[in-house]
Amino acid sequence: MTPALGALLGALFPAGHAVREEDGIVRGAARTAAGDVAVLGSAGGAEVGVEAALALAGEVLRVVREHPGRPIVVLVDTRGQRMTRRDEVLGLNGYLGHLAACVELARRRGHRLVAVVSGDAVSGGVLPLGFMADAIHAVEGAHPWVMSLPAMARVTKLPLERLEELSRSSAVLAPGLDGFVRLGALEPAWEPPLSERLAAALSRPVGPDRRAELGLERGGRLLAAAVARRVSGEDADEP
């Protein structure tokens, strides 16, 4: 286990934990002021390949079977899905879809899901687990991203200086926590003591996915909530 992961676990779970890390996959249990929790996720920026996705799905199913209703704390530090020919040959997207379905099952069976992003949070690494949580929190060092601005400049064939300028006002371009907070995807980084923030998050009532509404309130996504509502027909229900 890296010193950084050890320090994070110590700060989140001062009352004690039995969390192991193996090949970037985190599994275990911990004690919080809000009761015992299961802990799982990724550490050290680990890329999620077929083995990791299957192991994480297996851990979710084990918690569902052996500890009905126990809250699950998801630790996120991943640079995304593993990009190899072998992973694609074996159908990595299918393993990640299965992981997401297992997380949804846990939610349906009453497991509260709280994610804590402590490092990278990228694409296929964060979609099936961290971003499936009821609440997605961050601590110092959280860095969600899709693509660096230089890479985006190559793809979009727009000058880098233009993208840098635009990213100061637009939340959709620049990598990093601030943009994702404005989009409603994450909460601002917790101030210590982390254990108290976590206990509070675990005690908050769980509701439907409100990320698009938060994105509107925070000015990062002005259309998503309204578009989804119009297509869903919810607007027609209102008096």
Partner: protein
């Protein structure tokens, strides 16, 4: 030139060559489709506009209601002709809205005609969050008992986050020409080098991501010809056999995926998988049409029974 039927062109058959709207017209009962938030509403991407790029009045996806074999369904169809069907804020929100509508209205099912390179990089962060919201809304609709079926046979395949979305569905139908994965050939070559995957090697790309390998592996439930009527029949068949989102069903899927890894984990190439699966005459499989392929690989296939 004189056309049959008083001037109407002959019916288009190819799914791959059809536009997103034409695919919906060919798959749903004739005349049954009503679009929601259609192009006349002019809801376009503000992010593309601020980059000075052209926008589309449907943001690259058509969503609405229709009928399939007389049953009410909701359907979405991604338009590969606009930015490769990639998901941005508006595009994603239309899919989320459709799936929430399904949860409210409980139709016989939702059809997702997937044709997408994944997240739209010009609005990268919003695209990623939108894909996440699609996954949650899709799984929520399934948990509420509405089956969601994916169809993959367009020119862009189904990649990136949309490759995960596809495998959140109850069932998937693909044509041989359809492709499914998460990291596409260009992305792997650009990230890991041409030694890892040569994106210009068409045979390698098709046998890695194509419908035949995905069907043999059990990633796709049905393989069909590149034909609108065949996809229509497949959609009806898959709607009739939903996969419950419960512990038993997911435990079976888990076993199946664990077995795949145990059996084929040493394979770096789809050709080795086909050989190990004891598919008869693996070298001939790429030449067979969908029917002959299905019969030939039946004993070797690793799907749900």
């Amino acid at each position: 030139m004189t056309l049959p039927d008083g001037g109407h062109p002959p019916a288009q058959k190819s799914y791959r060559e059809a536009t997103a709207r034409r695919r919906l017209a060919g798959i749903l009962d004739p005349g049954s489709f009503t679009e929601l938030l259609g192009p006349s509403e002019r809801v376009t991407s503000p992010h593309l506009a601020s980059l000075g790029l052209s926008v589309a009045f449907d943001d690259g996806v058509v969503v609405g209601e229709g009928r399939l074999g007389g049953s009410a369904v909701l359907a979405a169809s991604q338009e590969g002709g606009f930015m490769g069907g990639a998901v941005g804020e508006v595009h994603g929100a239309k899919l989320v809205g459709l799936l929430r509508r399904a949860e409210r209205e409980r139709p016989a099912g939702v059809l997702l005609l997937l044709d997408s390179g994944g997240v739209r990089l010009q609005e990268a962060n919003a695209g990623l969050v939108a894909v996440s919201e699609i996954m949650r809304a899709l799984l929520s609709a399934r948990a509420a008992g509405v089956p969601v079926v994916g169809l993959i046979g367009g020119g862009w395949g189904c990649f990136g986050g949309m490759g995960i979305v596809a495998r959140c569905c109850d069932g998937l139908a693909m044509s041989e020409e359809g492709r499914l994965g998460i990291s596409g050939p260009d992305v792997i070559e650009a990230t890991k080098g041409v030694e890892e995957l040569d994106a210009a090697d068409r045979a390698l790309v098709w046998r890695t991501y194509g419908g035949k390998h995905r069907y043999l592996l059990g990633e796709a439930d049905l393989i069909v010809e590149d034909d609108l009527a065949a996809f229509r029949a497949a959609a009806a068949e898959l709607l009739a056999r939903p996969r419950p989102l419960d512990l038993d069903s997911l435990a079976r899927e888990h076993e199946r995926l664990a077995r795949r890894l145990a059996d084929f984990g040493g394979c770096g190439d789809a050709a080795e998988v086909w050989q190990l699966a004891a598919a008869p005459e693996p070298e001939r499989l790429p030449l067979l049409d969908a029917d002959a392929f299905r019969r030939t690989v039946a004993p070797a296939r690793r799907g749900e029974p």
